[in-house]
C-alpha cells in the first residue's frame, strides 16, 4: 500500500510536470485560456471545407476559422489554437469534461443538445440540411425513388434519426450501414457497399471530392431536415459564451460593413460609426466582453470576415464550390444576421 501510494504520488507529479493533466476552471474559461496561452478547440479533422488536416498537420476549414477567430480575439494570435480531432461520438463528452474549451465541429443545434446536456450553442455559422448523394449510374432523380436502398452514414449524428423519420413517413424501406468516421463512410459508398450516402448537404459536397471519380455522383435535390450548425460551449460560463457568440457576429458585421482582411487597416480611419465601434476605435465593445479593444480587428486581420472565410473554405475559392444560399447575409436574401454592435 505504501508503495502504491508512493507510486500514485510519483505518477501525479509526473503528470503535473508534463503538463498533461492541465487544470481548467470551467467557471472562467477566458482566464484559463489566457493562462494556458491557447484555445483548445474540438473539430472534426476529416471533413473537407469544414475542418481537415493537411499532411503538414495544419488544420483548415470554416469550422477551424471559428476557432482561429476566437484565438485571435482572446489571445491576439489566430495560430494559438490546440485542435482536438473528435468523432461524432466523443465530441459532446469532450466539451462536457473540459477537454476542450469550445466545440466547432459541424454540430447541429437541437433542443435536446441545448438543454439536457449542459451545453449551449452560441449561434449558427452554417445553415445546412440533410441530403442524399447517389451515383449517376443508378438513374435515381429523387429521394422518393430510394425504396429498398442501402444507405451509408456516419453514426452518432442527427443524420441517423432523420433518415429513419424520412423513410418511415414516406413508407419506404432501407438498409442501414453505419460507420464511425466519414472516411470509412466514403470508402464504403465508393466501393458500392451502399447505394446512397446521406449527410448534411454541405458535407456531401465535401465528401464528394474525396471520391476517386467525383463527377459520377450527384446530390439529390431533397433536403430532409434543418441542420443549423454552430459552435458549442459549456453551460454556466456566461462570459465565454458571449465571447464565442460575438466573435461570430463580429465576422458577420465585418462583412456587412465591407471590412475585409485586406482593407481593415485602412478601415481604422473610416468615418462609419458602425465600423469604428466594430474595430474598437470608438466605444467599449471589447471591454464589455472582457477583451481588448481591438479584438475584432485581430479577427478580421488574421482570419477575415465571414464572407471571406466562407468563400475560401467552402465557397468559390475552394474545391467544394458551394453557393452562399441560406448563408448569404440577410441583406442578400440569406439568413445570416448579426445583432448590431452598439
Amino acid at each position: 500500500m505504501m508503495l502504491r501510494s508512493k507510486l500514485a504520488k510519483i505518477s501525479l507529479a509526473t503528470i503535473a510536470v508534463l503538463g498533461l493533466g492541465s487544470t481548467t476552471l470551467s467557471a472562467d474559461t477566458l482566464a484559463e485560456v489566457q493562462k494556458q496561452g491557447f484555445v483548445k478547440c474540438g473539430v472534426d479533422g476529416g471533413l473537407p471545407g469544414f475542418s481537415e488536416v493537411g499532411s503538414d498537420g495544419i488544420y483548415k476549414g470554416i469550422d477551424v476559422d471559428q476557432c482561429r477567430a476566437v484565438a485571435a480575439a482572446v489571445l491576439g494570435d489566430a495560430k494559438k489554437v490546440k485542435y482536438v480531432a473528435l468523432n461524432a461520438k466523443e465530441r459532446l463528452t469532450a466539451l462536457q469534461s473540459g477537454e476542450i474549451d469550445m466545440l466547432s465541429r459541424n454540430t447541429t443545434w437541437t433542443e435536446t443538445r441545448d438543454t439536457s446536456l449542459g451545453l449551449n450553442f452560441t449561434g449558427v455559422t452554417y445553415y445546412d440540411g440533410q441530403g442524399f448523394m447517389v451515383t449517376k449510374k443508378l438513374g435515381v432523380k429523387s429521394a422518393k425513388e430510394l425504396d429498398g436502398a442501402s444507405i451509408c452514414l456516419q453514426t452518432g449524428t442527427t443524420t441517423e434519426l432523420n433518415v429513419a423519420d424520412y423513410f418511415r413517413t414516406n413508407k419506404m424501406k432501407y438498409k442501414l450501414v453505419s460507420y464511425d468516421t466519414n472516411d470509412q463512410v466514403v470508402k464504403a459508398y465508393e466501393s458500392g457497399r451502399c447505394d446512397v450516402l446521406t449527410s448534411d448537404q454541405s458535407q456531401l459536397y465535401g465528401l464528394r471530392i474525396k471520391l476517386l471519380k467525383p463527377e459520377e455522383s450527384i446530390v439529390l435535390p431533397e433536403v430532409i431536415s434543418k441542420e443549423p450548425l454552430g459552435p458549442v460551449v459549456r453551460k454556466g460560463d456566461g462570459r465565454w459564451f458571449d465571447i464565442v457568440r460575438w466573435v461570430s457576429y463580429a465576422m458577420l458585421t465585418a462583412e456587412e460593413a465591407g471590412v475585409t482582411s485586406a482593407n481593415v487597416d485602412a478601415m481604422l480611419k473610416s468615418d462609419n460609426p458602425d465600423v469604428k465601434r466594430l474595430l474598437g476605435v470608438e466605444g467599449q465593445m471589447g471591454e464589455n466582453l472582457g477583451l481588448k479593444k481591438d479584438f475584432a480587428y485581430n479577427i478580421i486581420k488574421q482570419v477575415g470576415n465571414y464572407g471571406e472565410s466562407f468563400e475560401k473554405t467552402v465557397g468559390q475559392g475552394s474545391p467544394l464550390k458551394i453557393a452562399r444560399g441560406y448563408n448569404a447575409l440577410w441583406t442578400h436574401g440569406g439568413l445570416q444576421y448579426a445583432p448590431p454592435f452598439r
Binding site: M1, L117, G118
Partner: protein, 384 residues
C-alpha cells in the same frame, strides 16, 4: 504498542484495514466527483433511457426490430448479435485450428512447413488490422450486386454480402430439424452402449458408420413424413438489392474470417503442444502392447492430449468472445457497436451504458470460466 506492531497477525489486520480505508476513500472520492459532475452538467441518470425510443435503424437483427423500438431492445439485439458472432467464430476457429494443428505435425514436410508459416504469419498481425484488411481490401474487391458471382442462381456473392436460399418454416422443415436432433441423440446412445459392451465383453463396435447412416437416413425419412413439402426462398435481385433468402453481410463475413483465422493459430498451437506433450514412452508403450496406430491415437494419445489442450483452447474462446467487440471498427451491429456506440450517442449516459456492456462480457466470461473449471475437475486424473 511496538510489540503489537511486531505481531504478524495484527500487522496483517492493520495493513488490510489501511487498504480498505484507502480503497473506500478513493471510491468515495470518485463517486462524489461523479455525482457532482453529473449534477453540474445536467446529465441524466438512471436506466429510464432503456424505455426510450431508439429512433435509428439496425441492419441485421435476429429478432424483429424497427426504429420505434426502445434502447432496451437495441441492447437485446446487440447482445444476440454478439452471441451469434461468438458462436460462429468459435465453431469455425475450432475446425480450422484443429486441422492446422494436426497438419503442423504431419510427416509431410511441405504441409508441416505451410502450417507453421500460417501460424507464424497470422498470429503476429493485430486482429484489428486483419479485420480491416478483409473488410476494406478483400470484400470491397467483390463485384456489385448486378454482376454478382452467381452459383446456379441460388448462391450469390457481391460487395453487399453472401446470399443463399433459406427454407421456409413449415412442417417438413421442422420435421427435418427434429430428425437431425434425433440422429444426434441416437448416436450418443449408441456410443455409450458400445463403450459399455466393450468394457463388459472386450469386443469393439465401430459406431461411426452407423452414426453417419442415421444422419443421412433420418432427414430423408422426415422429409417424406413431413409431407415432402420443402419450399426454399431464393435470393433475387429486386431494385437496389437482393431480396429473399438469407444474407450474410460483408461486416459479418470480414469479422468471422478475421476472428477465425486469428484464433485458429492459437488453437492450432494448443493442439500441437497438447499432442507433443504426451511423452514418447506412452506412444512406445502403446505400440509394444500391439495397438494399431489408430488405437494408440484414440486410446492413449488423444485422451492425454485433450486434457492438456482444452484449457488453453477455452481461454482462446474467451479471447474470441472479447475480440468480437472489434466489430465496431467495421460497423457490425453487435453490442459495442449499437449499444455502447449508437445508443450511447443518442442518450449520452455513458456510465450506465458502458457498465451494462462490461457486465455482459463479464457474465459471459464467468460462464465460460465455470465451464473450464468444471472440465478441469472432470478431467483430473483419477488416482486409483
Amino acid at each position: 504498542m511496538l510489540a503489537l506492531l511486531r505481531n504478524q497477525k495484527i500487522r496483517g489486520i492493520i495493513f488490510q484495514l489501511l487498504t480498505v480505508i484507502g480503497l473506500v476513500a478513493f471510491l468515495w472520492y470518485i463517486g462524489a466527483n461523479t455525482v457532482a459532475n453529473i449534477e453540474q452538467r445536467g446529465i441524466q441518470t438512471g436506466f429510464g433511457f432503456l424505455d426510450g425510443t431508439a429512433g435509428f435503424g439496425i441492419d441485421q437483427s435476429p429478432i424483429s426490430y424497427t426504429e420505434e423500438n426502445t434502447h432496451g431492445r437495441v441492447f437485446i439485439v446487440g447482445l444476440l448479435n454478439t452471441i451469434i458472432i461468438a458462436f460462429v467464430g468459435i465453431i469455425c476457429a475450432t475446425i480450422v485450428g484443429l486441422i492446422i494443428g494436426i497438419l503442423r505435425l504431419s510427416s509431410n514436410w511441405l504441409i508441416a512447413k505451410l502450417a507453421k508459416a500460417y501460424i507464424d504469419f497470422f498470429r503476429n498481425i493485430p486482429l484489428l488490422l486483419q479485420i480491416l484488411f478483409w473488410y476494406n481490401v478483400v470484400l470491397r474487391a467483390m463485384p456489385n450486386p448486378k454482376q454478382s458471382f452467381n452459383f446456379f442462381d441460388t448462391i450469390f456473392i457481391n460487395n453487399r454480402g453472401l446470399y443463399f436460399p433459406l427454407p421456409e418454416y413449415n412442417t417438413t422443415f421442422f420435421m427435418i430439424l427434429a430428425s437431425l436432433f434425433c440422429a444426434l441423440i441416437a448416436s450418443f446412445a449408441l456410443n455409450t452402449w458400445a463403450n459399455r459392451r466393450k468394457i463388459a465383453t472386450g469386443q469393439d463396435f465401430i459406431v461411426f458408420p452407423f452414426a453417419i447412416g442415421m444422419f443421412i437416413l433420418f432427414p430423408i425419412l422426415a422429409y417424406f413424413l413431413g409431407g415432402a413439402h420443402l419450399n426454399f426462398s431464393f435470393p433475387e435481385l429486386a431494385g437496389f438489392n437482393f431480396k429473399g433468402g438469407k444474407t450474410l453481410s460483408p461486416e459479418f463475413l470480414a469479422l468471422t474470417f478475421a476472428l477465425t483465422i486469428y484464433t485458429a493459430t492459437f488453437i492450432a498451437e494448443a493442439v500441437r503442444s497438447g499432442i507433443e506433450a504426451v511423452s514418447h514412452g506412452q506412444k512406445e508403450a502403446a505400440v509394444s502392447m500391439g495397438f494399431s496406430p489408430y488405437q494408440s491415437l484414440k486410446l492413449v494419445v488423444l485422451p492425454q492430449a485433450i486434457r492438456i489442450a482444452i484449457p488453453p483452447i477455452i481461454n482462446q474462446y474467451l479471447n474470441l468472445i472479447k475480440n468480437s467487440s472489434l466489430a465496431t471498427a467495421v460497423g457490425y451491429p453487435e453490442i459495442v457497436t449499437v449499444f455502447a456506440g449508437t445508443s450511447l450517442n443518442q442518450v449520452g449516459q455513458a456510465i450506465e451504458i458502458i457498465s451494462m456492456t462490461m457486465l455482459v462480457y463479464l457474465i459471459i466470461s464467468l460462464v465460460v470460466s465455470a465451464l473450464l473449471n468444471w472440465f478441469n475437475h472432470k478431467m483430473k486424473i483419477q488416482e486409483r
